[in-house]
Each structure stands twice: as C-alpha cells, then as structure tokens.
C-alpha cells in the first residue's frame, strides 16, 4: 500500500485527476484493482473495438446480443449480488421496457419516436420496479418471499401478454400480438431529422459496447461509494446496518428501482436489436437465466456478472446447435455444480488464483 502511494506521488502533475478517478473506481467492493487490472481492461476494450474488423456481420450482431444480456446480468448483480435482494423477476423489467419501447416507437414514427421510446421504456420499467419494490420492502415481506413474488409477477405478465393475440389488443398502431409477439418494432435512431443515425449493425455494436463500458465504470463508482458500502452491509446483515442509522428499506427500494432501470435499458436495446419482442421474455426459462449467469460468474462482483453472462450465454448458444432443450439441462447442471462446488462463482476464484499463477511464471511486474 505504501508503495502504491509513493508511485502515484512520483508520477507527474497530470496524475492528480487520474489518481482521483482511480480512487473513485477502486475499492474492496470490486475485484480488479491496480495497474495490471486496468492494463488488462484496456486490452479487452481495445479487442472489443477492433473485433468487427475480423468477423462477419453475423458474428458481430450476435456478439452485440450477448453484450445486451450483460445489462440484465448487471442489474441482477447489484440487486442480488450486492444488496442481497434475491429477485427472480429482473426479466419482467427487461420485457416491460421492451414492449413499451415497441408501443411508443411504432406510434411515434421517426428518430424522435425511438428516442422517446427509449426514455419512456426505461421510465416505465423503473416505475414498475419502484411499485413492486415498495410493496415488498415496506410491506414487510420476508427475503424468501421476494423471490416468489418477483417470479409470480413475471409469470403473470407472461400469461397476460400471451392472451393478447386478438385485434382488440393494440395500443394505437402497435399490436401486442399474443404469443406471436410484437413485430416491426423500429430500430433505435439517435439524432434529429436527416442527421439521425440509425443504430443498426455496426453502429448497434459500438453503441452497446459504449453503453456497457459506461455502465460498468459507473457501477464501479457506485459500489465503491458510501452507498455501495451500505448495499453490501444490507446484504451481510440488514438489522446491523439499520442500527448504524441507515434507512435500509429506502436503500433497498432505491437499488431495486435502479435495477429495474438497468434491466429496462437492456430490454429496450434488445427489442431494437431484433425489431421484435414476445412473451417468452416473461417465461420461467428466461427468468432463470440471469440467476445462472450471475451465480456462475460470481454474483458479488460486477466483473463476475459480466463474464458469467457472456460465457454462459455463449456456451448455451453453442450447445443449442446440437439440440434444443439439452442446453437447458446442461445449464441446470452447471448451476448445481456452481452452488455446490464454487458458491462464490468462477471469477472471484480465478482472481484469487491468478496472482499466484503469475508469480510462478514470473509474469508479475511488481
């Protein structure tokens, strides 16, 4: 520790702001710290940026889809991993925002409509999360029932949206479409009039990479801030934290609402990516996936959630090539394996082992 202080002092004057930035981004509530981590991080970001030059547009689009899932994974990570609220319903906020985006952008044509759809979609999913959270946290619902209530809400939405096949189920020009889903959702476009850029293909990929990067860094600042400490305190022992003078119910409600917003952003981007959304986003299978992603990667860490989401989604895509439902069986087995053998997930385990491994190969630079 003392060594690190001296090096930051030794380095030149421009270090003041950079040092302060690093201080905000680092702390015990995130795994990656120090120069080696940020070096690796920069390399990873650079790889993501040049990736489209080496792959066909199909792969780029698919990778973008995997990255979209990471918003869902991150939202569960801060709600469950950091604050200990076991939500089975993050997909509900994802789906609600996706449908809302569709309804708004189909009715209000042009880039303005899609931008409004983005904002309204996020706002509606956030408001819905606030409502559900308010009744749970202020209604004195115990922790176990939070999972059941959030899952029930999700499944009710699944059933409800499934029966909207009839012509009468339309909001303006937007038909809900029952189990066939809502079609012809426009792609997100940013800008005004002729200067608007439609966010598709390559632009979509870079949009998602940029948004994910900002979200990740923003969340790092959040979880290492005072609020982050309170979140972790609630996860570890809510009664103890309450008696330190923190309004823990309010914090839980705030985090849950923010989780709804984050999942909602993912949902909007997802609906824009496929120009389509259907009630399977509220299905039991999809509801279970974020839990598997985040648990596998390491729910208590942002990086664990992202890596877990990306890796598990990637693997299950590869598996499903061999035959529809088998991939789900294997994912279930994976979840069991993680819970029994690596309850903290793969990423923290790796982070623990990595320095020792580097030492053995003589790779460490300090």
């Amino acid at each position: 520790m003392a060594g690190e202080t001296t090096t930051s002092v030794d380095r030149s004057t421009s270090d003041g702001m950079l040092g302060r930035l690093r201080k905000a981004l680092e702390g015990p509530n995130t795994l990656g710290q120090g120069r080696p981590f940020w070096l690796g991080f920069t390399v990873l970001v650079a790889l993501l940026l040049v990736y489209p030059m080496f792959r066909s547009s199909y792969y780029v689009s698919n990778t973008a889809y995997l990255l979209v899932s990471a918003f869902l994974g991150l939202s569960l990570c801060i709600v469950w991993g950091y604050t200990g609220i076991f939500s089975f319903g993050q997909v509900a906020f994802y789906g609600i925002a996706g449908y809302t985006f569709g309804i708004v952008s189909i009715n209000v044509t042009g880039p303005a409509g899609t931008m409004a759809g983005l904002l309204v979609g996020i706002a509606v999913s956030g408001a819905f999360a606030f409502l559900v959270g308010y009744f749970m946290f202020y209604g004195g619902v115990s922790d176990v029932y939070v999972a059941i209530i959030t899952l029930a809400v999700t499944l009710v939405l699944n059933t409800f949206m499934g029966q909207t096949a009839g012509e009468e189920w339309a909001v303006g020009a937007a038909r809900l479409g029952g189990f066939n889903g809502m079609t012809e959702i426009p792609s997100l476009a940013l800008g005004v009039g002729d200067a608007a850029v439609e966010i598709t293909d390559l632009a979509f990929y870079y949009f998602v990479v940029g948004a994910l990067l900002l979200t990740y860094l923003g969340l790092r600042v959040l979880v290492n801030s005072d609020i982050g400490y309170v979140m972790v305190g609630i996860r570890e022992n809510q009664d103890r934290t309450e008696l330190f003078g923190y309004d823990t119910q309010k914090t839980k409600l705030g985090v849950f609402t923010f989780g709804g917003v984050l999942a909602g952003f993912g949902g909007v981007v997802y609906a824009s990516w496929g120009n389509y959304i259907d009630p399977s986003v509220f299905g039991l299978t999809f509801a279970a996936l974020p839990i598997i992603w985040v648990a596998t990667g390491g729910r208590k860490w942002l990086s664990g959630a992202i890596v877990g989401t990306f890796a598990v989604t990637f693997i299950s895509q590869k598996l499903s090539v061999f035959g529809g439902q088998y991939s789900l069986v294997i994912l279930g087995a994976l979840l069991l394996f993680v819970i029994l053998i690596l309850p903290e997930g793969f990423v923290p385990q790796l982070a623990k082992k990595l320095p020792a491994l580097l030492d053995r190969t003589g790779g460490g630079d300090s």
């Binding site: 015990p28 005072d226 309170v230 972790v232 570890e236 103890r240 309450e242 008696l243 330190f244 003078g245």
Partner: protein, 253 residues
C-alpha cells in the same frame, strides 16, 4: 430561591439521558417486560442484570426499536422516541451491540468499521479514522482479516468498535463479555471505561458475569420477570438478600 415542581422536573430531565415510563411488552399471554420505569443518567455506566428470561434483551430491543412496545413511552434526551424507526433512533445518538456479535462476517475488519464510520468521517479522512478505531480496540493487526475468522472475543470488540464509531451519546451493550476469557473480560472492562471517560458516552450494559459488573458498574438495575426488582449501587445489590434469593431461584410470590 423557588423550588417549584416544574423546575425540579426540568433539572432531572437535563440529567436523564434515557427514561422509560410504564414500558411493557407482551408476547401473547407472556409479559416479557412489565411496566418498567428506567432512568439512565447522563454519563453513567449502568448495568442491567437479572436471571435468564428476566426481559433484559427484550428491554434493549424495545429501546432501539427492534420491537414495538405494547404499552409505555421511551424518552431520549427529553424527546419521545417511542414511534421512531430504528435508523432514526441511531441518528439521534443511540447505538447498540447485539447479544450475539453481529459483524459482517464475509467482509474484512477494515470494511466492517468503514460502514458505520463513513457516517461520521469524510472519505478523505476515513482510512486514518479506521486505523485509529481499530487501534483503540487492539484490532489493527487484524485489519485485513475476514470478520468471521476472528476469535469470538475479537468479534465482540469489533462490534463494540463499530457501535461506538457512530460516536453515540448512549451505547447499549448486550453481554459484551459473554464467552470471553478472564484476560479478555478485563480488556473489555478497560474499553468500556475508556468509552465512558474519554469519549463521554453513557453506557447501559447487560451482563451475567458479576466480576465484570463489579469492574464497570456505577449503578445497577435488577430485572426479574420483566419488572424492575431492585436498583442501586453494586454494593447495595450484592448485599440485598432478595436479589440473592432470586438468583438462587427461591423467590415465591
């Protein structure tokens, strides 16, 4: 000088930090705390003793708001806090160490102290403040240890360190010396004295270990079957034949 009644109540209100009036808690047919009138003076160390099931822990839970009283009032610093939420009570200067040490097991000792201390200290100063706090309770060497890996005694001290990090006016300690060796108990008594003398805290302490009570108590309240049974100095209490009897389980009503 006039010694009107109102003046007397005013002056007592000034010296009394915590007062309960007719505080009662019923669980179905069981009256765990029965019409308790308690006055804790500003700056004193008060011990709350009594046989198992006397209602001591229930009383503390009523004070911090973990339980809602069936009847009665709680006044803190002259203010009626009976309806206050737990966090509002903590914010008005009341802090507590739980009976079973409630530390954040999965976090390092440093992080444990960070959580309450960030209420009092800015980010700039917090690293220094954490180390001062840990040093005060002999935990500096264990700063990076997972709290769950500490010994039982160290966990007790860690939680006392955390509860006192809020700089409360009134610190409630539920069995701070339970499960400790003689040496550790002496250490704990030392910490309690220091919090009282150097940091000016008023302490209300539940304890079974009579040696520990002797070492710290400036006054003692005996609870029995939910009621205040006796009150006085430790000498008064130890020489009270009735108190001796209830501890031997011989009292009949």
């Amino acid at each position: 000088m006039t010694t009107s009644e109102s003046e007397i109540t005013e002056s007592t209100a000034d010296d009394t930090l915590l007062r309960t009036e007719g505080l009662t808690k019923r669980f179905g047919g069981l009256v765990a705390v029965d019409d308790v009138n308690l006055d804790v003076e500003r700056g004193e160390i008060r011990c709350l003793i009594g046989p198992n099931g006397a209602g001591k822990s229930t009383l503390l839970k009523l004070l911090v708001g973990q339980l809602t009283p069936s009847d009665g009032q709680i006044y803190y610093d002259g203010e009626d806090i009976t309806g206050y939420s737990q966090h509002d009570r903590a914010r008005s200067g009341l802090s507590m160490k739980f009976q079973v040490p409630a530390v954040y097991g999965d976090l390092s000792v440093r992080q444990n102290v960070h959580i309450p201390l960030q209420r009092e200290v800015s980010r700039k100063r917090i690293d220094v403040a954490i180390e001062e706090t840990l040093d005060e309770f002999g935990l500096l060497d264990a700063a990076e240890t997972r709290a769950a890996d500490l010994s039982h005694g160290q966990q007790q001290w860690l939680e006392i360190a955390m509860a006192s990090a809020l700089d409360p006016d009134l610190l409630l300690l539920d069995e701070p010396a339970a499960g400790m060796s003689v040496r550790e108990t002496e250490k704990t008594a030392e910490y309690v004295h220091r919090l009282n003398e150097e940091r000016g805290m008023t302490l209300l302490v539940i304890e079974h270990d009579i040696d520990f009570v002797r070492a710290i108590a400036q006054s003692v309240t005996v609870l029995h079957r939910g009621e205040v049974f006796a009150e006085g100095t430790i000498e008064d209490i130890e020489n009270d034949p009735d108190v001796r009897r209830i501890y031997l389980g011989e009292v009949r009503e």
